[in-house]
């Protein structure tokens, strides 16, 4: 691709589309946002590659580089969203969790996967990134750290914290579909009255 960007970019997109889309979907927890995020990643990548010289293109670690773009776009989007008034309707996490499975959603056909995806969407942002990159996309800790621009030890610790938090949320999760966030469910689980009843 170093020699012929326009000719080779299609193959480049196809090679990395699944990793970028997976990251975009699990970070944003919304199919509509995932499409935009993944497409925008490749558009930005193309514009950068145009400016890079051949040596720099060859030195790239393409998957990690693309995911860095995805993560930055996602964080910028969250920052912008925080400055705007909140949207009406459900949270994006619920949008993914509740959407009726279509033909392309076979991967999420199982109840388990849908529930886990919803929990992941409620994981705090600083833990969601490390967990998605390490476990959904399958990057190494070193790559995860490089993408998140943090020390490898921090990446490792945040992945571990993220998994621990997910397990905590899963244990507290009640399956009532309109129960709100998992944290709310967790609070319900430790209500004093509930304690008293169980004694």
């Amino acid at each position: 691709m170093a020699a012929d960007l326009d000719g080779g970019f299609g193959a480049f997109v196809r090679t990395h589309a699944d990793a970028v889309y997976s990251a975009a979907l699990r970070l944003s927890a919304s199919r509509a946002d995932a499409d935009d995020l993944a497409q925008e990643t490749f558009v930005r990548a193309y514009r950068s590659l145009r400016r890079f010289d051949a040596a720099r293109v060859r030195a790239l670690e393409p998957r990690a580089w693309l995911l860095t773009i995805t993560v930055n776009l996602w964080r910028n989007g969250l920052r912008d969203a925080a400055r705007r008034p909140p949207r009406a309707g459900g949270t994006p996490a619920q949008a993914v969790a509740d959407a009726a499975p279509g033909p392309e959603e076979a991967a999420e056909s199982s109840e388990q996967a849908r529930a886990l995806a919803a929990l992941l969407g409620e994981l705090p942002v600083h833990l969601r990134g490390p967990v998605v990159l390490r476990h959904v996309v399958g990057l190494s800790y070193a790559e995860t750290a490089a993408v998140l621009r943090c020390p490898e030890g921090t990446a490792k610790a945040n992945v571990a914290r993220g998994l621990a938090r997910l397990r905590q949320m899963a244990a507290a999760e009640t399956p009532a579909p309109r129960a709100g966030s998992a944290r709310a469910a967790a609070r319900r689980g430790v209500k004093p009255r509930a304690r008293k009843e169980s004694r």
Partner: protein, 270 residues
Amino acid sequence: MTRAVGRVPDVSGAALRALHTDAPAGFADTVLEHLGLAPGDLFVRVESPAGDLFVAFSDAGINAVWPAALFAGDPARFVARHLEETGRVATAASRPPAGLQSALRTGRGAELRYDLGGLSPFERAVLTKTLEIPAGEVRPYGWVAREIGRPRAMRAVGSALGRNPVPVLIPCHRVVRSDGRVGNYGFGPPMKRTLLHAEGVDVERLERLADDGVRFIGSDRTGVFCVPSCVRARRIARGHEARFRSAGAALGAGYRPCRHCLPVSARDAS
């Protein structure tokens, strides 16, 4: 007190890995379109009974097939020709589209998905009908014309088949002259004969019948007549074979047309 009625999701590396999700179909094309780049195709080189082929495809299906020999096996020359014909840049794929190799092995091209977007409705009708001709059998141009409801468009059928962008897979080699001779082929009659031989068609016998003016073969035991390459005609025992110069002669002798190879249209037969 809340009670868990559903299953608590299992949080494990494997469960998270299962959330890896393929990009939606057409994702790459959307990105390329957004950037104003020519939508790209992928291509593979695969073996076929008539030598190696270059096969180009996208998410929408297979869109081009070329004999590798035409480019002396050079992928760069194939890519240049493909760009010239379609305006699309093809890049080498790591694996062939699903089902391609088995379709080449069995001759069942109908099991694959094709992208025939650039063709006219008439051309698409011709190619779709041609896909119905089973491996090991042939049909005349007139048969295709009749079956798509354009009985007098035999020449147009011939040229539509000549422009078949996915030869071998859509088996235009199974369409022959009405007198039973093999006839023309986009990449030359020898390749057509090779493909037919590989499928078990006795080309020489069909040509001997053509020399004798025989267009149809019937069985005097069943009273059914067929085109000579029909899988059922091949089962007729030597002593019970009836030969006809026309469908009219067969019908006149009290034979009914075979329901597999449809030697005449259903309307003519009644």
